[in-house]
């Protein structure tokens, strides 16, 4: 066990000292910070963008003094320039670039007409529905006021509408879909790319022939486990760094209203954090050991990609299986994805977050994953022991099977 940790520590030092690792980590951190700054950057670059300015022209003064309420009624709408310009003046303002579009309000035979005027109808967006709705609402308010209704009469014709959502399924789902999908993607990339490093590290040692000295210094079990643990710790630290940077950036650079809309922080509990870390570790071990197996069979660097293809396919298929079954999280397929060892790390944390997973399901999923890891470790170490000193052409499946059987 001591030798395993010596190898793990050496592997960590090796990874952390690599320029490529440091540069890629730094680039990703910068991209994360930049990503959360995109709304601010867009605003900075756009400045007083005319695209945001819509001229509301009421030449016949249909709205009267109510027209001034438009911007207050809809604070999230694009900026509305209120005027009593006629269609010709509005047209000229668009041509002059003062506004990007105009809505000319007219009344004909008790019918309210909105003429949406743009520079080029083919390239312009659809009429802004939020502004149209606001115009309708303000018009309706003005019309009601003219009737001099009592508050009771007013309440009867404009009732307060409460909308509630109910479901026929017995199981209730909670949580934010965006966060769940993001978590699934982060877990996949973290597990997949960290695990891939194990294969790369083993192949590098094999092709540089250092493995000859290494296998005479310690057992293959220590080598495989030491490498897997070392790279896993670095990967976990890297993931924590990315997630922490993302959270800090979100808090620092995003508007708090927008942030609350995206992330329901009440769902990010300590238990979920522990379970997610546990599934990351177990999922990483399952894939890392498979990659250790394929990495040990390769004698030349150019064969690494093709040797890793079966594991890569398994990872991608399992991820998409988990990802797409999350669109119907109460389905049997999603439950299967949460139990199947190669897809459970991408699925079960999300089921727990949604409040769908029972303790038995979680226990069963983790148990199956651990048993799978033990089986994969046994096979990987056995094949590694026999294949690691074989150089030359990539072995066939038959030869890999023979390596497994050879003592």
């Amino acid at each position: 066990m001591k030798e395993t940790f010596i190898i793990a520590r050496f592997t960590m030092r090796d990874m952390l000292s690599r320029k490529s690792f440091r540069i890629s980590t730094l680039i990703i951190l910068v991209l994360i910070v930049l990503g959360f700054n995109v709304p601010n950057l867009l605003q900075t670059f756009a400045g007083d963008n005319l695209d945001d300015k819509v001229l509301i022209a009421d030449p016949d003064e249909i709205y009267g003094q109510h027209l001034d309420q438009l911007n207050e009624t809809c604070p999230n709408c694009d900026e509305m320039i209120i005027s009593h310009d006629n269609a010709d003046i509005a047209k000229q303002k668009i041509i002059d670039g003062e506004v990007s579009s105009a809505i000319i309000v007219q009344e004909q035979d008790n019918t309210l007409e909105f003429n949406y005027l743009v520079k080029n109808a083919a390239t312009a967006a659809q009429p802004p529905q939020d502004i149209i709705s606001t115009l309708e609402k303000v018009y309706q308010t003005a019309a009601i006021e003219k009737l001099n209704l009592t508050p009771k009469e007013l309440a009867s014709i404009s009732p307060t509408i409460n909308i509630t959502v109910s479901q026929t399924d017995e199981t209730e789902i909670s949580g934010n879909v965006f966060v769940m999908m993001m978590l699934s993607i982060i877990l996949f990339y973290a597990i997949y790319f960290c695990a891939f490093q194990v294969s790369s590290s083993i192949t590098t040692e094999k092709t540089s022939k250092i493995v000859e000295t290494l296998v005479t210094s310690t057992s293959p079990t220590n080598i495989v486990l030491g490498k897997t643990i070392g790279i896993g710790i670095v990967g976990l630290l890297q993931m924590v760094l990315f997630v922490a940077t993302a959270l800090i950036s979100a808090h620092t650079f995003l508007d708090s209203t927008m942030l609350n809309q995206i992330i329901d922080l009440s769902k990010l509990t300590l238990f979920l954090g522990i379970i997610t870390a546990l599934y990351f570790i177990l999922g990483y071990f399952a894939y890392a050991l498979l990659y250790a197996l394929t990495g040990s069979t390769v004698g030349k660097p150019e064969d690494v990609q093709s040797a890793n293809t079966p594991v890569a396919l398994l990872g991608v298929i399992s991820f998409y299986f988990a990802y797409f079954t999350l669109t119907d999280p109460t389905s049997s397929l999603n439950l299967f994805a949460a139990i199947f060892p190669f897809s459970s790390p991408f699925c079960m944390p999300l089921r727990i977050m949604m409040g769908l997973a029972t303790p038995l399901e979680v226990f069963g999923s983790i148990t199956i994953l651990i048993i799978t890891i033990l089986i994969v470790a046994y096979i990987a170490i056995r094949i590694y022991s026999n294949a690691i000193l074989h150089y030359g052409t990539k072995p066939t499946w038959k030869e890999i099977f023979q390596n497994f059987r050879t003592k």
Partner: protein, 296 residues
């Protein structure tokens, strides 16, 4: 201490890599393991080191079955390898720790051997900055820094310049004097003749010759004559039906069936008043014995 291999065999998917191999090292010495490419030397070494398991036979060290843990061995593989981006002192410390050394004794041993092999100035450099010869010396240090009882050296001098070869030779001789058991595998027969007391020659997995090198050579009759004269003696050599291997500046290297043939030639030349400047009857070299055994 003794290393004993008894009737050891290894088969790889129908290919008999090593067949019924037996050898004994019962006292500190340098033992030569010879063979053509693919003869089974590396497989034998790997079985001794416990990297691969034998199919049949017994390998013991001090009467105990050999396992990775039971033998304190050092190994310099033929396939040289080193971590290119990592400082040489760090990787030496890594291998020392894997061999059970603590930080302080590892550092002491690394400094001692680095000084002895004249690579102390490279300890803080990444291995890729070192010349091939210096990388090889670093790997040699990795094999011996933990003071192993059994040292296996696979082609230790390949790629080294004469100065470094001499440096390494002295270290190996010192290790032998200090009571280490050393197995040396090489194709350089002169090295084996210079260092080894006993040899084993493998051919296609089978032992074709084994024993004390001096005794082996004593069983072989003289087979070569070096003779130089003041005039061309080709006609005398042809008359005696002796094959000229080499002829330059009237110095001849001639194959002889036995010493009597050389004596007869000498008598004939003296009778013909030929002035002889040099007349050396040679025993077969290890190279001759090796080729003969392998070609049989």
């Amino acid at each position: 201490m003794s290393l004993v291999l008894e009737h050891v065999s290894k088969n790889f998917a129908g290919h008999q890599a090593v067949q019924d191999l037996s050898l004994t090292l019962d006292q500190p010495a340098i033992f030569g393991l010879l063979g053509t490419n693919g003869a089974g030397k590396t497989t034998t070494i790997r079985m001794i080191l416990g990297i691969i398991t034998k199919d049949q036979g017994k390998i013991t060290w001090n009467n105990q079955p050999v396992t990775r843990k039971s033998v304190n061995f050092g190994y310099l593989p033929e396939e040289r390898g080193i971590y290119p981006k990592i400082k040489t002192c760090d990787q030496l410390a890594y291998f020392a720790k894997l061999k059970g050394m603590d930080q302080a004794s590892a550092a002491e041993s690394i400094n001692h051997w680095a000084k002895r092999l004249k690579v102390e100035e490279y300890l803080n450099l990444p291995a890729e900055k070192l010349s091939k010869g210096n990388q090889q010396k670093i790997q040699f240090i990795a094999a011996i820094l933990h003071d192993p009882d059994l040292i296996i050296l696979d082609e230790p001098f390949s790629g080294l310049d004469p100065v470094n070869t001499e440096l390494l030779k002295n270290v190996i001789i010192d290790l032998s004097k200090k009571g280490k058991y050393i197995i040396m595998s090489t194709h350089q027969m002169s090295v084996i003749e210079e260092f080894c007391t006993s040899v084993l020659i493998l051919n296609r997995g089978k032992t074709v010759l084994q024993g004390n090198l001096r005794e082996i050579k004593s069983h072989y009759p003289a087979n070569r004559l070096i003779i130089s004269a003041d005039e061309d003696i080709t006609k005398f050599l042809n008359a005696a039906k002796l094959k000229i291997e080499f002829n330059k500046n009237l110095q001849y290297t001639v194959r002889i069936p036995n010493e009597t043939a050389a004596h007869q030639l000498l008598r004939d030349l003296i009778q013909q008043n030929v002035t002889i400047n040099e007349f050396i009857i040679q025993k077969p070299t290890l190279n001759d014995i090796f080729i003969e055994k392998v070609e049989q």
